[in-house]
């Protein structure tokens, strides 16, 4: 079975990875802090956003009805997908109906969640990821490592090498090949420093611009020849039946306006009541996601340009809605801020979680969305420092939810036998004061024994025991307080 413990050990040992993640996430957090400093109403906005989402979720039947009715009367086709497989099947059906052999995709986490690309390929429809980061992920055959920064742990050298292998650039730019970047290992390279003759940030930007320009040219031809555009949605407005798509690159605009057919796979958690609510959410999302006051493009699609098919994706969401304690996880707007602040994410990257939604939100969401046992390890992949709860723009109490998951898993018997045994013995001992007093081990014995065997030894390998006092509390009490009370 996949073990977080094992994978995280590998990732933590990779110092280069931590450096890259640290640099990228710190930059995002600094930019976010800069914007928040300019927003005295930030806390009030977060709370309001949470309330709007909880209101929508606790009236989801009503808002779904509204959305479907409005979207259909605007001319869109709307369907329901209970599972990811069903959603994929529906996308393929729409493609077949329109004779589509190539589909351009805007960046979409639901698309990743349902593994749409695999299904399209199986149906001989070519999926083309058009967000630059997602394009790299697709070419490399890997999952995005962050919800808003898919290739957060890739260096520019690695991107250049991949684009050359794929024939998208002719040669590795001179600045990169000078330092023999071809030999450097993926994870061993340092981030933003002078190892590849690219120490000067402006030279790095110039090289990045050349790579992006080449990728843009390669993708432009795909845009022009694609029969279908596939996107997700950041918000779905119930009253007006509007899809709202937020981006910086313009690839989503291209995906929704160039091909004749647009298919949007939209989680049912994306609903908000009215267009006026965008005032709240669009004040929060770009700030939390990328530290921007506003993203470059916010598209409002009220009605089809030509053919619009909206697939409402359940895939475990209604089951989560029925969870009275945890349904607020459905209010997540996928900004990625909790990943940026998480000390665990910042060492293991998104790939350390082996999940489409990584980081704190992924750790609490994945065990709800997927039944595989591996995902039940994720709530333990946290230091419970609480930074995620503080940063979340819709105020999901993530640390609290992580803790609750641990309780649930323990209650279901998911606790290691040694730990369970130790606590059972301790509980028995505490209920028998006579035995406890006579059997009470001296502190130096504990220190000597704890590190010798089994789980204790593993525990001690990475931790120091606190130094024990010479005198036990019981003895101290007897000498001091007990006498005075007499």
């Amino acid at each position: 079975m996949w073990r977080f413990e094992r994978v995280s050990r590998e990732k933590v040992a990779d110092v280069g990875l931590a450096e890259k993640l640290h640099a990228a996430t710190t930059l995002s957090l600094d930019k976010m802090a800069e914007q928040v400093a300019d927003m005295p109403h930030w806390q009030a906005l977060r709370e309001r956003a949470r309330q709007i989402k909880l209101h929508t979720l606790t009236h989801l039947d009503r808002y779904l009805r509204q959305f479907i009715e409005a979207a259909e009367s605007n001319g869109a086709a709307v369907s329901w997908a209970k599972t990811g497989e069903a959603a994929c099947r529906q996308v393929v059906e729409v493609a077949r109906r329109h004779g589509v052999t190539r589909a351009v995709k805007g960046k979409s986490m639901t698309g990743e969640e349902i593994e749409l690309n695999l299904e399209l390929e199986r149906a001989r429809i070519e999926p083309v990821e058009t967000d630059f980061g997602e394009m790299i992920c697709q070419l490399a055959g890997e999952l995005p490592s962050h919800v808003t920064a898919p290739i957060i742990q890739w260096s520019i050298e690695e991107v250049a090498r991949l684009l050359k292998e794929q024939g998208i650039i002719g040669d590795i730019p001179d600045e990169l090949s000078d330092a023999g970047a071809g030999e450097a290992s993926r994870s061993g390279e340092s981030f933003g420093r002078g190892t590849s003759g690219l120490g000067d940030p402006s030279r790095r930007v110039a090289v990045a611009a050349r790579l992006i320009a080449a990728a843009r040219r390669a993708l432009r031809e795909r845009f022009m020849t694609a029969g279908m555009g596939i996107t997700g949605a950041n918000f779905a407005v119930a009253r007006s039946g509007t899809l709202v798509l937020v981006e910086n690159e313009a690839n989503i605009r291209l995906s929704t306006t160039l091909p004749k057919v647009h298919v949007a796979v939209v989680g049912i958690d994306k609903l908000i009541p009215t267009l006026a609510d965008l005032g709240t959410f669009l004040s929060l999302l770009p700030v939390a996601a990328t530290g921007q006051r506003q993203s470059a493009y916010v598209s409002l699609i009220h009605r089809p340009f030509e053919h619009l098919h909206i697939i409402l994706l359940d895939n475990g969401r209604t089951q989560l809605l029925a969870d009275k304690e945890h349904y607020d996880l459905l209010s997540c707007i996928r900004c990625g801020a909790c990943m940026n602040v998480c000390p665990v994410y910042r060492h293991v990257s998104g790939h350390g979680y082996n999940a489409v939604y990584p980081g704190p939100i992924g750790a609490v969401l994945m065990p709800h969305l997927r039944s595989e046992a591996g995902f039940r390890q994720l709530p333990f992949a946290s230091s419970l420092c609480g930074a995620c709860s503080e940063v979340c723009p819709v105020r999901i109490p993530l640390a609290q939810r992580l803790l609750e998951w641990r309780e649930r898993i323990v209650r279901e018997g998911g606790r290691p036998w040694a730990e369970a045994g130790a606590f059972r013995s301790w509980a028995w001992l505490m209920r028998h004061p006579g035995v406890y007093r006579s059997a009470r081990p001296r502190s130096d014995w504990i220190e000597a024994v704890a590190g010798l065997i089994g789980p204790g030894r593993r525990w001690r390998a990475t931790r120091d025991l606190p130094v024990c006092a010479d005198e036990t509390f019981g003895d101290w009490w007897k000498k001091n307080r007990a006498i005075r009370e007499d």
Binding site: H41, I156, V205, I212, S240, R253, R293, Y297
Partner: protein, 220 residues
């Protein structure tokens, strides 16, 4: 099928304690002159190395036309994409240019947002988006009356229009140039869209048809 699913959700929702829709939160009032703020915010969105003024203020439609004609004086006619007018739109796709990259796109603007430096564009059909998308440089021209303090105010008003039964167009809110920071968080301009966004702001009321004719006249 759909109504069955929603029945399921109704049953679930009934077990949750309903949360009330919250009171509004007022953003801090946008202070000072809206045009000055818009100019500052739009200017801050320019890409690296783009130093020319992002906002040009003109007196009237004729001035605006002269200004835009000057901005595209070196651009061959075939390289200019105009936002289609209503007659062209009713012809649908046939009026649209073949979708390929051009040097310059010229559009109006449904609104200008002071606090974010955003330009709101109506996109009533597929070809209509091209003038702000498949171009290297995009110029938006609008009258002073289009300035709105911030996005919450704009979306509030839009929501009210929809509630009143108005059929609003698809829309895009453009805030600066097309950009990406996917590689090592290095800011690269452009990504898939325009490298540059300019706004020509007209002090007097603005008329699109007259403006377009004047630009063409000045170019001749």
């Amino acid at each position: 099928m759909l109504s069955e699913k929603i029945e399921d959700i109704s049953r679930i929702v009934r077990t949750l304690s309903p949360v009330a829709y919250p009171e509004p939160v007022s953003p801090p009032a946008v202070e000072g002159d809206l045009v000055t703020l818009f100019e500052e915010r739009l200017g801050a969105l320019r890409g690296p190395g783009d130093d020319a003024p992002a906002l040009v203020r003109v007196a009237d439609v004729d001035d605006a036309a002269r200004c835009v004609a000057e901005m595209c004086k070196d651009v061959p006619p075939g390289e200019i994409v105009w936002e289609p007018d209503s007659a062209e739109l009713s012809n649908g796709e046939s009026a649209g240019h073949a979708p390929q990259d051009r040097a310059m796109g010229i559009t109006g603007a449904a609104a200008l947002i002071a606090q974010t430096g955003s330009v709101i564009l109506d996109v009533p059909n597929r070809p209509a988006g091209r003038a702000s998308l498949l171009v290297d440089r995009h110029i938006a021209v609008a009258g002073l009356d289009r300035i709105v303090p911030d996005l919450p105010a704009f979306y509030q008003r839009l929501s009210e229009r929809v509630d009143a039964g108005e059929r609003v167009h698809n829309q895009v809110c453009v805030t600066g140039c097309s950009r990406t920071a996917d590689i090592e968080k290095l800011l690269v301009v452009p990504a898939h869209g325009p490298r540059q966004v300019r706004v020509v702001l007209c002090n007097a009321s603005f008329d699109w048809a007259a403006f377009r004719l004047s630009v063409l006249a000045y170019r001749d």
